[in-house]
């Protein structure tokens, strides 16, 4: 598999995700600087987490205008799998590849802790091996918002990827860490080849991390 990881000024999970790809998918990803303008051929593009451009204006807003994003959008529109994690999710939303918005956590606090998510649609390239999984979140703006018409559209098209839940898989207010509508932790585009998620699967990808539940997302991409 030919894989690419985009690097912006302020990305800080680029190398973590590269290690996860190397270990699980078995390919050494090409690290692509945001000022490059083309990704010619790819089987997976990852937009990693971090604080691109210091979160100026809105998280992900500046990065979404970087030269490389044109090529990411072109590849996504051709059906290439594109995955945005945390700040990467914010960037994909700002670039228009995914619907909705990510606003300030309802608690107004930066949250860094393990949460549990449940795959909502397991018929996609990213989630066909997914199950209820524990992995960390680390964000200040992860509160997923969309108006009621958009939520209906996203639900009707099976575009919800993951929802925060408790250990038994129950989706409730108690298991919602950040105020996201309907506990939404991740969404797909309409064609399901673009995934954005706030939790960090690459930080729960080997036993040394204390949990390796995040592997199933990368393993799904192999099948």
């Amino acid at each position: 598999m030919k894989t690419h990881v985009i690097v912006f000024p302020g990305s800080n999970c680029d190398r973590d995700v590269a290690v996860a790809i190397q270990n699980i998918i078995g390919s050494s990803p090409e690290m692509v600087w945001h000022k490059d303008s083309t990704i010619k051929q790819s089987d997976l593009i990852v937009v990693p987490g971090g604080f691109s451009y210091g979160d100026y204006l809105r998280c992900g807003a500046m990065a979404s205008t970087s030269p490389i994003m044109k090529s990411v959008i072109e590849n996504a529109n051709k059906g290439v799998p594109v995955m945005g994690i945390c700040n990467g999710f914010q960037i994909l939303i700002e670039s228009g590849l995914l619907q909705g918005a990510l606003i300030r956590n309802s608690s107004l606090s930066f949250i860094c802790r393990d949460i549990i998510i449940k795959p909502t649609n397991t018929k996609t390239i990213f989630t066909n091996k997914s199950k209820i999984s524990k992995m960390p979140i680390a964000h200040n703006e992860g509160n997923y918002f969309a108006d009621s018409n958009q939520i209906k559209e996203i639900e009707d098209n099976d575009q919800i990827a993951f929802q925060y839940c408790d250990e038994n898989g129950h989706i409730n207010a108690h298991s919602n860490p950040n105020g996201s509508i309907n506990n939404i932790a991740g969404v797909f585009n309409k064609s399901k080849n673009v995934l954005g998620m706030m939790p960090h699967p690459e930080r729960a990808a080997e036993s040394i991390h204390g949990c390796d539940d995040g592997r199933n997302i990368f393993e799904s991409l192999l099948s």
Partner: protein
Amino acid sequence: MLAKIHITLKKDVLDPQGSVIANSLKSLGFDNVNDVRQGKFIELEINSNSKEEAEKQCNDMCEKLLANLVIEDYSVEIEN
């Protein structure tokens, strides 16, 4: 020309920062404060032949970058 752009959260978007500010104002004794909504104010200098043209460009900037129309509304005011 000087463009003054206000960006505010849409009515149906919760503003937790606004609520905290409202509570703080109440604790300072401003009991008559009912609601606070926090937004952004952007000032930019722009070369343009007409106010209309400058306003059109600023609207375009808001739609492409300055505002996120899923959660925010904007208004543009142009001064000579």
